[in-house]
């Protein structure tokens, strides 16, 4: 008999920590729904690594699974050690934009370059939410935050393009206004190998939205929906026009050999030569 989907199938009996209206609920739901639709009735084939920040709480300790809640920015290095010693497990990293492409940026680039076999889901709320709303590497130009009270004087980073350039096997961007597309992207990514990256543009009504003119989470989600465009549409726009848009969709899908494959090719050959 098929058990109907419920997030509770995969969660510990603990109260979730997110604010009302937080995008983390949508991401958690989409991920677990994808896992369910792929036929997993528990998370025993997964290991979750996360760092510090609100979205790092999506898997840890709430998922009934093995989870390693690491230091700020260091989830990908820890995931590297896990995956290399247990290549049979699905290693999934959850983190925010500050965690993954702020303090942890170098690890992100190198993991993509190595084509490390992990799926990284980055919840981009464009702000440091847990510390109360400071400017992030992803904050839109001129946005007011608590550390840019006159508006941000920096340009935001495009993490998906960076992942593509660094060598990721899969990279996609969706928003919390696209829960179904997000779920499908997770399913696809979980079936692929190598470094897979999904950015989810997400709302933080508490520490960002209300400072940039949104009254609630719903308004932010509507804004995501109205301002998201496809890669095809993006081609027709100038850089200035693009700055106001969210380019959503699948940026790359390829089958470069993965780190697990390349490293264990070397290990097996060295082992064989040593034994002979």
């Amino acid at each position: 008999m098929t058990e109907a989907f419920s997030v509770k199938m995969y969660l510990r009996d603990l109260k979730l920590p997110f604010c009302p209206g937080c995008g983390a609920y949508t991401v958690m739901h989409a991920f677990l729904r994808a896992v369910y639709e792929l036929g997993h009735r528990d998370l025993s084939e997964f290991v979750f690594c996360s760092g510090i920040g609100c979205s790092s709480w999506i898997p840890s300790p709430y998922f009934m699974a093995d989870s390693i809640h690491t230091l700020h920015g260091r989830s990908i290095p820890v995931a590297t050690g896990v995956k290399l010693m247990r290549p049979d497990l699905n290693v999934v990293v959850f983190g925010g934009d500050g965690d993954i492409v702020g303090i942890g940026l170098s690890h992100f680039i190198h993991a993509a370059r190595r084509n490390l076999d992990v799926l990284v889901i980055m919840v981009n709320n464009m702000v440091y939410g847990m510390t109360g709303g400071q400017v992030a590497p992803t904050t839109p130009f001129k946005s007011k935050t608590t550390t840019t009270p006159y508006g941000s004087f920096e340009y935001p980073l495009d993490a998906v393009k960076l992942a593509v350039a660094a060598g990721a096997n899969y990279a996609a961007r969706w928003t919390t206004a696209h829960p179904n597309e997000l779920k499908e992207a997770v399913k696809k990514a979980l079936k692929l190998q190598g470094f897979r990256f999904i950015e989810v543009v997400s709302q933080c009504p508490t520490a960002f939205g209300r400072r940039v003119g949104f009254r609630n989470a719903g308004e932010m989600i509507r804004w995501f929906k109205e301002n998201s465009i496809t890669l095809e549409e993006a081609k027709k726009l100038s850089e200035e026009e693009l700055a106001e848009k969210i380019v959503a969709g699948e940026f790359v899908q390829r089958h470069r050999p993965t780190l697990t494959e390349t490293i264990y090719t070397v290990v097996k050959e060295a082992l064989r030569n040593a034994e002979n």
């Binding site: 093995d66 809640h69 290095p77 247990r86």
Partner: protein
């Protein structure tokens, strides 16, 4: 070709360390090139694949220790090797390994600091960093080899202590001991004590207490282990406001080391029951004491020494014993006084503690300099 076969070898200290790691069961190394520790990474990069293990050069030292921690939770014995600047970068993660009770070995081959200092030159300036480098209340296990043989022996011991106590262990070497070449006797593998972490039984759920050293599952074994550097209860669930949960956790983490000083702290002693002048030394500097005590005897001064093979937890008992007979204790070290203060604290006025310090250029403290101080104080 698995672990090194028993026999007599002529090795560099770094090679002895790397071969010992493999013998101890290490199957994962992650590191970043840094003088004077690079040889350990190079040797393990060649040797680990030959035994089915993985060595990977990461993008920096922070990533290196991170990967080591991940590998440890995946069930592997894992290590990294670095020097002062890299050791500084690793400090936050060493605290994480302590808090999450992740066994791992960190080799610090000391060079001249602070900062970039003199990268190729020997020093002993990281002694206090190895004890207090990360933030918060913690206890460190730090071993100090003074020969190539001890690079071998103490690397095995470092893994054993890490596994037994579920904690990071630092092998605090130095440029001289890691780069010198000496004879090493490798015993038959069955004569070597090799310890591994205690595993939980099916159905167990408490991996972070209440046992002094709780059993440690690996990921992928069905235990649903939740690992976090935040204050957590025995099930790994975060409690970031409860003072009692924090006290219980952090007092146990410190206690599991401090309550076992007698087992962990290891020293080599000579003539401490009869000497007038004592020496407390460690690492490369301690290589001088063997000649010095003989020469002092020849000049009519009864001398003895305590050589620290464990720096932390500090071997107080041996130092106190020394202070019961010796009225003067000479502490030579290649820094501007670090263990000196620890000795002074331990003897509590029972003996006069006299520092001999030298820094820069990798110049060792000579036997003559130590002897001169003994004769001056005798």
């Amino acid at each position: 070709m698995g672990s090194v076969k028993h026999g007599v070898y002529f090795w560099q200290g770094s090679v002895a360390c790397a071969e010992a790691a493999i013998l101890a069961g290490c199957r994962f190394f992650a590191g970043y090139p840094i003088t004077p520790a690079t040889e350990i990474a190079e040797h393990l990069s060649k040797r680990l694949p030959q035994v089915g293990g993985v060595a990977i050069q990461m993008e920096d030292e922070i990533a290196s220790i991170g990967a080591v921690i991940g590998a440890s939770w995946a069930g592997a014995k894992a290590m990294t090797a670095t020097s002062g600047p890299g050791f500084s970068l690793m400090q936050e993660s060493i605290g994480y390994a302590f808090m999450t009770e992740t066994p791992c070995v960190i080799v610090d081959v000391q060079r001249v600091g602070p900062s970039t200092g003199q990268a190729t030159k020997c020093a002993q300036g990281d002694v206090m960093q190895s004890r207090w480098g990360t933030h918060g209340d913690y206890s460190a296990i730090v071993l100090s080899p003074n020969s190539v043989q001890e690079m071998f022996d103490l690397t095995i011991r470092a893994f054993n202590l890490a596994e037994k106590y579920r904690t990071p262990v630092v092998l605090l070497s130095d440029e001289v001991v890691a780069h010198m070449r000496e004879k090493v006797v490798v015993p038959p593998v069955e004569k070597v004590e090799i310890l591994s972490r205690r595993k939980p039984k099916l159905g167990e759920r408490a991996f972070f207490g209440p046992d002094e050293v709780p059993p440690m599952p690996s990921v992928g074994e069905g235990f649903n282990v939740a690992v976090t550097g935040s204050t957590h209860d025995e099930f790994g669930i975060r409690f970031t406001a409860d003072p009692l949960v924090h006290r219980r956790l952090v007092e146990r983490l410190n206690g599991k080391i401090q309550n076992h000083v007698n087992e962990i702290a290891d020293v080599e002693v000579y003539n401490i029951e009869n000497c007038r002048v004592g020496i407390v030394a460690y690492g490369c500097t301690s290589r001088a004491v063997y000649d010095v005590v003989e020469e002092a005897e020849a000049k009519g001064v009864s001398a003895g020494y305590v050589r620290l093979k464990t720096l932390w937890p500090f071997p107080e008992e041996a130092i106190r014993k020394l202070a019961e007979t010796a009225s003067k204790i000479i502490v030579p070290e290649m820094n501007l006084r670090q263990i000196f203060y620890e000795v002074e604290r331990t003897v509590g006025g029972m003996a006069k503690v006299v520092p001999v310090n030298k820094i820069g250029g990798g110049e060792l403290i000579t036997p003559e300099e130590i002897l001169g101080k003994i004769l001056e104080e005798a």
